[in-house]
Amino acid sequence: MNLLIPLMVIVPILCALFLNLLHKKDRTIKTIAIILALLLPALPLLANYGLHYFGGYAPLIENPTLSNNLPSLITGTALNTFHPAITYSFQSAQKIFVFILGLVGLLAIFTSLYETRRPSGVYGYMMFMGIAAVTAILLTDDIFNLYVFFEIAALATVGIVLVSNVKGNYETALKYMILGGIAAPLFLLGIALILGVTGNVNISDIIYSLQNGLVDPKNPVLLMACGLIVFGWLYGSGLPPFHTIKSAIYSKALPSGAALIQTFSVFIFIALGIIILRIFSYLPFSQWVILGASLLAMILGITMAIVQTDIKRMIGFLAVGELGYIGIGLGLGTAFGITAGLFQAVNEVIITAFLFIGFGTVLYQTRVSDTRKLGGMLQRNPLVAFLVLIAGFAMAGVPPLNAFQSKLMLIQASITAGFPELGVIMILLSIVTFMTFMKAFHAVFLRPKPVDLELKNEDIPKATIITLLVFLVVCIIIGLFPQVVTSYLQPLATSLAGGIV
């Protein structure tokens, strides 16, 4: 049993509680937050692959001393193989996901400590709690445990928005919670239906029951459960109809917070998407729903992004639109397609965080986010303008940056799977994404400064520049050597496509 696996969740929770206690002690918060945040990407690199059973309760089949004393009513049936404890599973795909989450979390926390006037222990608490919750969502093999951390992630998201002091944040947070108060209990209802039919909440055991005929897979109750879980997935990831509230949430948070919240959305998207594929892939209808929701997200997100005038709202809608690419990869169902989709998720997280923090420097200096009132920032910060330009190229898929590799893989996967129309739509929307970004870049950086624009703060903190440079380096490395990431994702993709657990 590898003890580092639960530590990946416990360490951020302890960090969060510790930082909350230290609120208002500025120097201490800065040093402790940075030291603890460095652990976040380090732990998944150090942990070994394997399963972790909370409480040590391995399945009976692995525990002969206990099972010898039990009646054959238990040991002679499938109950022998079922998992009695909450199981966390750490394989190669989880390693790369938790590492990227930790990296973006580290950089977001690092940026937030220097961009606010005083470092806030409460803000650090929210960010660490959110990271802990999403790490648990990625690692867990128990669907109720996933629901608990799903709710914690939603609360952390709302907390990040509430402490940001942007105008209108309380209203947006309340709207998000009201919509969540409908979607999340219905997700739990879907879990309850699965519990009622299969008697299990452990995902591997549910799949075992479905594949070995212990329950009838075409049971209408299970189909209803699939529908409700898909609905909860739509809420957690920000797919339509929740795309407007998700992009509003991104726009009402501070840039570092927004970078972290979009990371949460993308990883919840893939964690729940993988679970839906694992449990319900015997229904071809579930793949059509994933494809349909992703297509709708792409089209609605990107068309809404073009017509926005507020930069943060625009990047928020672009982030929602890019989720659609990931979903198309997952919905194609082939190993290559799923690898491409998961690779696109990793790239998308990095690029969107890069864009939020990059454009966030403009906010830091001018406190204005309306593109109609901005201009002339190129003279003020040529280095930041160059970095943001590279980020925009990355989002649109320009080689040799990372999204080029993943979008190329996605288009190839959709053509070989027999859906060239999806490839055409992806290319079209990438062009439009590029146009949207260039429009915003021109409005903010290239055109002359309007007379009435005041530059409030002086210099951009070194921390932000370092963050942007780290993102740039990661983008270039992944763009030049995509197998660094895809080699971790292939085992999971192959097992999902083959229909095996």
Partner: protein, 120 residues
């Protein structure tokens, strides 16, 4: 007429969920919306605990002196009970955060109407 406890609970749970969705969507007062969300949570919890019902079952505490085979045949299902406790706690915390936000909004805007505060 024998009333089946489980089916009655399931129907009550579905009724609570539908009333809750109706309240959260159609009522204008923010506090009433939150009460509707509480109804949805309660309905789902009732549904969940009803999944563990066993007619004539005993409480799932293994006392010394019980035969293992008899216990495993007759105990009610203990898993939903643990899930519902966790779910009630989650519901309470989200409710607390929502009510806190409403207090702040009421102080700022002076009204509890969703049309004024949350509309556009």
């Amino acid at each position: 007429m024998v009333i089946d406890v489980q089916i009655t609970s399931l129907f009550t749970a579905v009724a609570l969920i539908i009333i809750g969705i109706f309240a959260a969507a159609f009522l204008d007062n923010l506090i009433k919306k939150i009460i509707g969300l509480a109804f949805i949570g309660d309905g789902v919890n009732l549904f969940l605990i009803a999944m563990g019902y066993k007619p004539g079952g005993i409480v799932y505490i293994y006392l010394p002196g019980m035969a293992a085979e008899w216990f495993s045949q007759n105990a009610a299902y203990p898993l939903p009970f643990a899930m519902v406790l966790t779910s009630i706690v989650i519901g309470a915390s989200t409710m607390a955060v929502m009510l806190g936000i409403i207090i702040v909004l009421y102080k700022k805007r002076g009204s509890l109407s969703a049309k004024e505060i949350l509309g556009e």
